[in-house]
């Protein structure tokens, strides 16, 4: 069974988000190909790796909208109508970790680290009057990210490769 949890740091939101986020995905990795023609034949050679630039999770909503408000604060810090669209236009030092657990759910066997995350979109929240409704409200939250890598054990492959 695969279980994950997320940690990121922004505006004091860190461990809390672990409990509020209900879904996540490990992004795909893709190597772009280049075509090389020779005589009448075409060869396909590998190019440069490309990462998806978006990553989406679902966030649980409580009645005070605690997490929703914090995420919105982060959103407004980057770009707000009050500042005519201005705000912090930098790639923040925020990482999201997707941790995979073993079947005892005690040990993290693998970690996927997404670097340079910032909140890109806070999705719709749909309300409707329904009798006996029992579904807790969720909203999707899309992050932009720069790249990701896998960590196994305590080794950071990026650092290991550089050393």
């Amino acid at each position: 069974m695969v279980i994950y949890h997320l940690i990121y740091k922004a505006l004091g939101v860190n461990e809390n988000l672990t409990y509020y986020i209900k879904s996540a995905s490990i992004p795909k990795s893709e190597i772009k190909s280049a075509n090389v023609a020779f005589l009448a034949a075409g060869f396909v050679v590998p190019g440069i790796i490309s990462y998806p630039d978006e990553w989406t999770v679902d966030v649980l909503l409580d009645q005070d909208l605690t997490m929703y408000r914090r995420l919105k604060m982060w959103h407004e810090e980057i770009s707000s109508y009050r500042l005519d669209g201005g705000g912090k236009k930098v790639i923040p030092h925020v990482t999201a970790n997707v941790n995979l657990l073993d079947n005892t759910m005690q040990n993290i066997v693998r970690r996927y680290v997404m670097e340079g995350c910032w909140i890109q979109e806070l999705g719709n929240v749909d309300f409707k009057y329904e009798e006996g409704a029992s579904t807790v409200q969720k909203c999707s939250c899309k992050f932009a990210m720069q790249y990701f890598y896998e960590v196994q054990g305590e080794q950071d492959p990026l650092q290991a490769r550089l050393s």
Binding site: T18, Y81, R111, I119
Partner: protein, 171 residues
């Protein structure tokens, strides 16, 4: 290149191999301390002189009151566009400017006399009517829609989201 990974130190955290999050923590963190939000915990409020003109928004007359006839609402999404900055063979993504959805819809109950429906149609026609060969009011009206989120007792608003300068909806 190492600077691209500013949180590298965290990865070296010795506690990495152990799961610090358990059911007890979840119980204490969310289910014990926070009441969750359900889809019916909302009330819509429509405010504006144009609405009073067309709907005669009067709490004593429920048939005319939009609050009671509106059955659904949507808190709009907040988006920030992004720009790509290429470096070698890679693209880095930086934030640009905020963008809002400029449309918002709700479902309205229709009474047998279709008074709400006709009022909405009249509002719509005030902006563009075939009688005037498509002419009408070409202003952004001073109409607000408030999505009020209720607590679990349905007595207090925990948060209100205000949609400013709403134009007539499409019937």
């Amino acid at each position: 290149m190492a600077n691209l990974s500013p949180n590298y130190v965290d990865i070296k955290n010795p506690s990495m191999g152990v799961n610090p999050h358990h059911l007890k923590n979840f119980y204490n963190q969310i289910t014990k301390n926070q009441a969750m939000l359900y889809g019916y915990q909302f009330i819509l409020t429509f405010i504006g002189p144009e609405l009073e003109l067309f709907f005669q928004n009067n709490v004593n007359d429920m048939e005319k009151n939009l609050t009671y006839h509106a059955q659904s609402a949507k808190l709009p999404a907040f988006k920030i566009n992004k720009a790509k900055i290429p470096f070698y063979g890679n693209d880095f993504r930086t934030p640009t400017v905020v963008q809002f959805d400029h449309e918002w819809d709700t479902e309205i109950l229709v009474d047998q006399n279709m008074r709400i429906y006709e009022a909405a149609r009249a509002w719509l026609r005030s902006y563009s009517d075939l009688k005037y060969s498509g002419g009408g009011k070409r202003v952004i009206p001073n109409v607000q829609v408030r999505i009020n989120i209720l607590d679990t007792f349905h007595q207090n608003f925990t948060t209100s989201y205000v949609l400013e300068r709403c134009l007539a909806f499409i019937c």
